[in-house]
């Protein structure tokens, strides 16, 4: 069994909290200790609530703490979700039945078992999404859902704005936004969906493809225009060729002076694969490897599951990249390389504006960051 030295990725509880706290009007209660509360609360930046269980609750039962917390929130929120952490899950109370007895139809309450030991971030996120029972509506044929939005993702606001823009330009309306932005627990889904994050696909609606990475953007935009814009393909005829030309020209200029970078990418597997493709295609980058935070999917580039800081550091020291795309963990673990932050956490930097990683502007922003980081890195000190 490998060591788990400095786990890099959050547990299922954080994934569930990130998903549900993106739903408008949803009061999210972490049913557990204050210790389980603090990390999601600091990472998600939305109001979260906690039953703050103590040893007394373990002895006498946790229902009173839960009732107290729900009672203080049920006038404020039309809908409440209760995320059961490790301890309520271990002691085996029937929370659903208890809440049904107490509140019946007087409060809309979702209960989700989200103990940290059951899995990681993506597992918790998808489990939370599935407990919401969204309904598809035929009246929303001209709209397209956007999924893969998570408050844990530092790029979610930028991704949402960019994909809304692309949908408008493709002639479609913006459907449900899973799970951030203007979605509520009773929002109706449109029949089709595009993905802001190919590692967090909801399974809701017919997939029209991902908007992450130029290659996938081209394919998805072609489908969108075909379906919604009746031959007026402003995106595929103007915006995409223009963006691609700007990337090609900037990369070409870079390559006049410098060798292509040798790159390690660290983050969610499918997203990293898409970014690696862009770097290889436009910048001639050598992809040394992808360190995947979630279950790896074998693709064009070497990929391995790396869940802990110790293994990550060993991998970086072995491969010795010129450029790392990842989180501030990787930046700290291997300071000699140029760095572009694309994976949470991104500590030690101020982030105020809505920067995208998905869509055309996301691809441009990414390539801009990569070229600037590589050039800054090679300037004489």
């Amino acid at each position: 069994m490998p060591d788990c030295a400095g786990p890099l990725w959050p547990c299922g509880l954080t994934g569930a909290a990130a998903c549900l706290s993106g739903i408008r009007g949803m009061g999210v209660i972490i049913h557990g200790s204050a210790g389980c509360y603090f990390y999601p609360a600091t990472a998600i930046h939305r109001p979260l609530y906690c039953t703050s269980l103590t040893d007394q609750d373990i002895i006498h039962g946790t229902d009173e703490s839960l009732f107290r917390t729900i009672d203080s929130l049920k006038e404020k929120y039309p809908c409440i979700s209760v995320l059961c952490t490790c301890i309520p899950s271990i002691i085996g109370e029937d929370i659903r039945a208890t809440l049904e007895d107490r509140y019946g139809d007087s409060a809309r309450i979702f209960v989700l078992d989200a103990p940290g030991f059951i899995g990681e971030y993506e597992t918790g996120y998808i489990a939370a999404l599935s407990c919401l029972h969204f309904i598809e509506s035929d009246s929303r044929q001209e709209h397209v859902n956007i999924d893969g939005l998570s408050l844990m993702d530092p790029f979610w606001r930028g991704n949402l704005q960019e994909i809304e823009r692309l949908l408008r330009l493709a002639g479609a309306g913006c459907g449900a936004t899973l799970c951030a932005g203007d979605i509520s627990h009773d929002s109706k889904l449109s029949p089709c969906t595009v993905h802001a994050n190919p590692d967090l696909m909801s399974g809701h609606g017919k997939s029209l493809g991902s908007l992450f990475g130029i290659k996938k953007i081209k394919e998805t935009i072609a489908l969108l225009e075909d379906r919604y814009s009746e031959g007026d393909g402003v995106l595929s005829e103007n915006y995409l060729p223009d963006a691609e030309e700007r990337i090609v020209s900037s990369c070409d200029k870079y390559l006049k002076r410098f060798d292509p970078p040798r790159v390690v990418l660290s983050g969610q597997c499918v997203s990293m694969e898409e970014i690696a493709s862009m770097l290889a295609e436009y910048l001639g980058a050598e992809i040394l490897g992808i360190a995947s935070r979630n279950a790896p999917v074998q693709g064009k580039y070497p990929v391995e599951l790396i869940r802990d800081y110790g293994t990550m550091q060993e991998m970086l020291e072995l491969k010795c990249p010129d450029l790392i795309l990842g989180s501030s963990f990787e930046h700290t673990a291997f300071p000699p390389a140029a760095f572009v932050g694309i994976t949470p956490p991104l500590r030690g930097t101020v982030k105020l504006h809505a920067r995208p990683l998905a869509g055309i502007e996301g691809a441009l922003a990414l390539m801009e960051s990569v070229l600037n980081a590589c050039m800054d890195h090679q300037k004489p000190i």
């Binding site: 030295a5 959050p10 547990c11 956490p345």
Partner: protein, 339 residues
Amino acid sequence: MAIPPDDGCTLTGALSVTTEIDGCLTLIHGPAGCTHHNFSLLHALHTARDRITHFSLISTDMTEQEVIFGGEQLLEETLRRALSRHPELVCVLSTCVAATIGDDVDAICNLPYEAPVVHIPTGGFLGGGFLAGHIQALNSLSFFADESEKTLSVNLVGEKTLEYEVCEHYQEILRILLRIGVPVNVRFICASSFSDIQNLGKASLNILRDPSMVPLGISLKRELGIPFIESFPLGLEGTIRFMERVGEFFSLDVTAAVSEEEALQKEMVRVFSSLKGKRITFNTNPLTDMHPPYGYELADMLDLEIHDQGNPVPVPDPFPVGTNGIRRLLHRWRRRCHA
């Protein structure tokens, strides 16, 4: 209460100590999520303070399997693998999951190993909050201190290592102590080593970070015979009184040092004279500090009017250390008052 008080997990409290020991490996017996929460928080704080030091934190990565069948075997295996990295010290921290399923962590830690292994019984929320974990870790580690001959020096006990400005607080108390001629023996524990901990007993006086550390102060007095002062210097008058108390303890003449400090304080008040007559109100945590005494002292010194409709100014808890801590705080007050 729906939003927990600003405390946190016992585990985080203990980790704020063990991750400050150079050469120490901390092993957390519980699900990887518990370790990730803390690893990420500590990483954030270190990055914010431009520290690139690495701390060793290993999780036993407990899964549903151990929750059902028990996790002692997993703990022992992980501990033996951790020891193969040759740490100077291993601190084993238990989580609420380990405590709830009843793993005998003590028994595993008491087996013979090639390096010291100490169990810090944190038990997540079953062991109390952040402060309980902080004190528990310091208490457990104090047993490594050797009996020593006392020297003219002090230990700094219970620094809040997760504070954003912990280094600045340390620099300020160091400045004040050196001004009166008293060196620091050991920071117990902040940026320390295992041998520092062993030398803890050499100091003649412990200076606690704040009164919340008094239970530890009492324990160290009993075990190592070191008396304590219950807080770092806080406030203008408090800083002067602190210097006099330490001087008195060591029978040192601190008259000149006190005069210099008073002159520094007078000059600081002059620099912030543009605040005179401004209306302020204290932006405090109503649960912890209804009547901020140091805030009133500053308002009085600078001739400020305290008024419900005044500019809200921060009065942090804990209050910044020494004269220079107050200077930095007054910059923030001045910004709020647009003075």
